[in-house]
Symmetry: D2
Subunit: 366 residues, 4 copies
């Protein structure tokens, strides 16, 4: 009920604070018989690891994952998979000062109001390190989807004012550079922009896009658990996301029906759509086209400029934040968006298996 | 699991099709002792009723609600409240033709893919009439919030290219006119735009804004059930919504930390914020400022122009939709956004009661 | 959260009070494509209907069910099925006196403590009429199970001191007589016993047994959602049940491993068990044998003898209950046990579909 | 959905196999501000630790708990508490043989049917070691209940044919001896009986009783989440439990209303009951009396006598189980029953806080 669990069938529960003993996740409902090893998970964690580029916090963490349960002889057993990443680089002293005041843009004040006190070291539970559990679970969800032929791919769409040009789209470039942008030219300009921000002791926002390919039509539920509603929650639950779009997103509000409707057509003997303004979802259910979504991230709230705020004694004060902070959230958040999308898509696929009598009958009377 | 239930503590389950016997909702978890009568609910339903202006479907429905359970001597008993609205204006013949093909922008195709067949009359379960249950439940949630001093207010922010001017903001105007815009001037221009759309056999999109006032700080959960994540799901689950924003929304992606951070300050002896870019939520938890959100609606997919599509036999065809259809979703959706917001806020408030030992102790040892 | 919803995938929500407008249930998650009509449900409701024998309350109710949603052209659509039974025989005046005091063995006092007041007419929500919703939903679950070749059958095992003799077992007898006992001889003795109880202004307890046949091995979850744990909850949630047994039940506490273990053996080329002390469940998962369970019901608390109790003013008083009351709960509860068992078994079957990668793959890549 | 999570508000998720890296639990929804250290949990784990008496497996495990998250400066933070117990005594070779066949009374066959294969080492997930997570979580629930003045106490009621005499009741005796019986004389006789069982290469069943004191009236939900239904599930979910009773349990079936009804009476100015046949629950809601429940455990299925069974190749075989096995489940299960009861009671208490408008209003407008 405190909301550290996500998913209905493929159900993940994350735990851990930035400066506690470690961070982890328990995945309950992973189907039995999936080949899985630590390397499958580690390669996702490495994509969000700090310290790899000039634009990420200089905190160095191996973030090595240990599988504690749920795997036997290299395959999932169907029982809970418990994953543990020990925290190793906790310079808590950096944070001792922030115990006494509320950093703008952070959850310090709201945690105090909710719980009466807080683990102030590195943001405690509200730290971006919480996403380690999500990414680890997402690695498993992605592996299952892959076996079904479905791919989930996220990338940086924009950093501050710099957007990618879809004509230059090159996903391998995105996995190589420091921005996660699938466009070498835009990436170079974004790097310049980020350096400028850092020079100004400031930070930048950005956009992450995600595309799901080969999802069959018919996935998602028609009312409250619409596929886009569940994706909306999944993405909005990532810290710093302030807006979510599916398909054409905000643009639909100024469109007309005649331009916004996607015409159906036959293509290679199958039903297809001529356009994809809808982003692959109609009435909350997948239509067989690519699922297209976007997440808008705010700039890192920890900036090194002097800021005004209040302390726990109720006094107006001025503060200057120290420590290790990324100038941008987006670059490391790409894999988090991918993970949350994969988990949500997989969960919807699993839920869908019980939708029809014919499917149930053929499952049980084969 | 099929997702017709929403909420954890204040839990609603909607049912019903456009052309079935009726539409309804069961509310489980409504606290005992709330004064409640049918009129409390009817006045919300009347705000979404068709046939009231030139821009809503000419289908005339009284949409009269009957309370079937959960009330005794004018007060809620704490047991489920079952609400029923009979369908009375089912001109099913209008829809017989659409049984054979897939309307662009509608859920016809996706329902067929999911379930193998569909109740094609008026869109069946995917009809906007499904929201009657949401609005009825939202009326009750709003009444409870009101008793706690919390208000939830939605209005039309934009219709097509016409946006309100916040300097002219007048909520009473919004409740009076046909657009739901709290700005008489913008409303007049929006009416002209809608008439133009109708003349072109076309439809328009728009934006609904919602503000929650007087919500205490500390409400919401810090990880997956962030208050903004839950609001995101609530709003995205409304048919035709393609984007969701909290606070500055999409704009944060091009902002800097220095401009986007809201400084805390003391005001009348209390912690406040100088600005509200965050929209009242930090780290998923309310900060005591107004909660500000926006929902972007696509244009009504039912337009009277000729459209291309396919039929159930897998043939490319051209169709011309008949029947009764609003040229815009937004005007009648305002109260739906308000309802889903109220339900979500109330549910978070109730969940929050168990967050702290001191609160639990004082509750049970008074 | 208030617990009027049961099931994870095949999810039912009941509502209604004894003397309100009606009683009903919403079933969400019923698979699409099941042939279903009101008669399928009515025949189950008729099995719990009052007024049919000398041992049931003389309240006459047609208890006619109306399907409000979820069926189109004779088949389930996959969307919520809403069922309504109007209350027609509310002689509320019979109950007006009990508003002021707490009947022994009833929930009057506990409702007042929980909610601050109560709908005292006929027990309100705590009335046995609440089970109408369960039985209606159970009729649908049973129909689905039947299509998979699985049967669920409950019957009266004992009434007061009179038990059936398993050598006389005759299920058709059980459906014919007034006790629900599948043994004509025991039934006749039980009738005599009940008449004696009535002559003494007293009531009797009893036992309901239920057997599930043809459930495949492998159904149920291994930890908290053990099949027997879920059945235990399902059965204990029926009013007046005070004990639940699976297989040999209480007898296992005085058995030895050597006598209690069921040996596996090959039978017709399949794994079978020589005995079934376990009642068909090992480690929370079905083993392919019959599922055997028992529910122990207390005597009807409403008796016509003078009883001691207290009133709402905190005074010791003596009362004499009037009105219409069955001298035994068991006879009408048989179909309720059957319904709750069927719902639980079906829900477990549906959950089990996502247990294995090979099952998922063959479902999605056929 | 795979059922490794239990509870609605105080929500626990257990993971781990007998011979994997470790066993653990994540508790989400523990209120903030509870003083908590490892010793609070360890003392509960020590009560179920193997190797402490002649009647428990000679496997020696320290079962030392490590708190990985959720505690800061000695108090719970309101975020998930992750607890880890490393497995240290895995003599897997003992178990290699059982990979090929199905032990009677164990979950070997059912796991294979469900998942296609199993972690056969020590029973894998179906091992009694799974309960470590339950006991650790139960320690925390008990501590919270204690702060509210509520106590939960379990003890051995019977071992095989030997039952305690309630006139000799001495709880401290139960915590001291090897049987967990609060009666020195019965305990001595039970020891003799167990030695006899061991000499016969056999095992014994037994009964665990549990009593909850000082629970206020009004706790529990009236329909599916009746307090006794939830307790029934909690207890039936413990491996080897085959029957559950509340209050007089199975005896009610042969009682009459006149003897089974508990009369209310005024006592010290408060409503009380003259007797407690109901076991403290009426209509699913606590009535202020002691909650009384019993769990019936089957004999340990691992016995050293030769047994008949089948192997994975479908051949009838004879087996002789080796390894380390308790001759009785009950003695170590006492603390598990106590833990599951405490968790269930606490969860119901927390849920109840939102039952009434007056409680909510006074919470939020203090």
């Amino acid at each position: 009920m405190s909301g550290s669990t996500y998913g209905n069938i493929f159900k993940i529960t994350t735990w851990g604070e930035s400066h506690g003993a470690g961070i982890g996740v328990v995945i309950d409902g992973c189907p039995a018989g999936l080949s899985l090893c630590e390397e499958d998970i580690q390669k996702f964690l490495d994509r969000r690891k700090p310290g790899s580029t000039q634009f990420t916090t200089q905190r160095k963490e191996a973030d090595s994952v240990e599988i504690l349960s749920g795997i036997f002889e290299g395959r999932t057993t169907g029982t809970p998979i418990s994953l543990l990443v020990r925290n190793t680089s906790q310079r808590s002293s950096d944070y001792s000062e922030i115990a006494s005041y509320y950093r703008p843009g952070h959850a310090d004040y709201t945690f105090d109001m909710k719980y009466g006190f807080r683990d102030y070291r590195g943001g405690g539970r509200s730290s971006g390190r919480e996403t380690i559990g999500r990414v680890a679970a997402g690695a498993i969800a992605s592996k299952i989807l892959e076996e079904l032929g479905i791919t989930v791919t996220a990338y940086t769409e924009a950093i501050g004012p710099v957007s990618i040009n879809s004509e230059h789209f090159d996903l391998e470039e995105a996995r190589r550079n420091s921005t996660g942008m699938p466009d070498a030219d835009a990436s170079a300009r974004a790097e310049d922009y980020l350096k400028e921000c850092m020079a100004n002791l400031d930070s930048a926002g950005g956009i992450v896009s995600c595309v799901v390919k080969n999802l069959p039509a018919g996935i998602g539920e028609p009312v409250f658990d619409k596929l886009d509603a569940n994706l909306g929650k999944a993405i909005m639950s990532i810290g710093a996301v302030k807006a979510f779009e599916i398909g054409d997103g905000t643009k639909v509000s100024s469109a007309n029906g005649s331009s916004n409707n996607d015409s159906f057509c036959m293509q290679d003997g199958k039903v297809a759509k001529k356009t994809n303004h809808a982003g692959g979802i109609l009435g909350g259910i997948s239509d067989g086209s690519d699922i297209l979504l976007k997440a808008y991230f705010k700039p890192t709230p920890s900036i090194f400029q002097e800021q005004e705020t209040v302390n726990r004694n109720g006094e107006d004060i001025k503060i200057q934040i120290k420590g290790r902070h990324d100038p941008i959230v987006v670059t490391r958040a790409v894999v988090v968006v991918e993970a949350m999308t994969a988990i949500t898509i997989l969960d919807s696929l699993l839920q869908n298996m019980t939708s029809r009598m014919d499917g149930i009958k053929s499952f049980y009377t084969k």
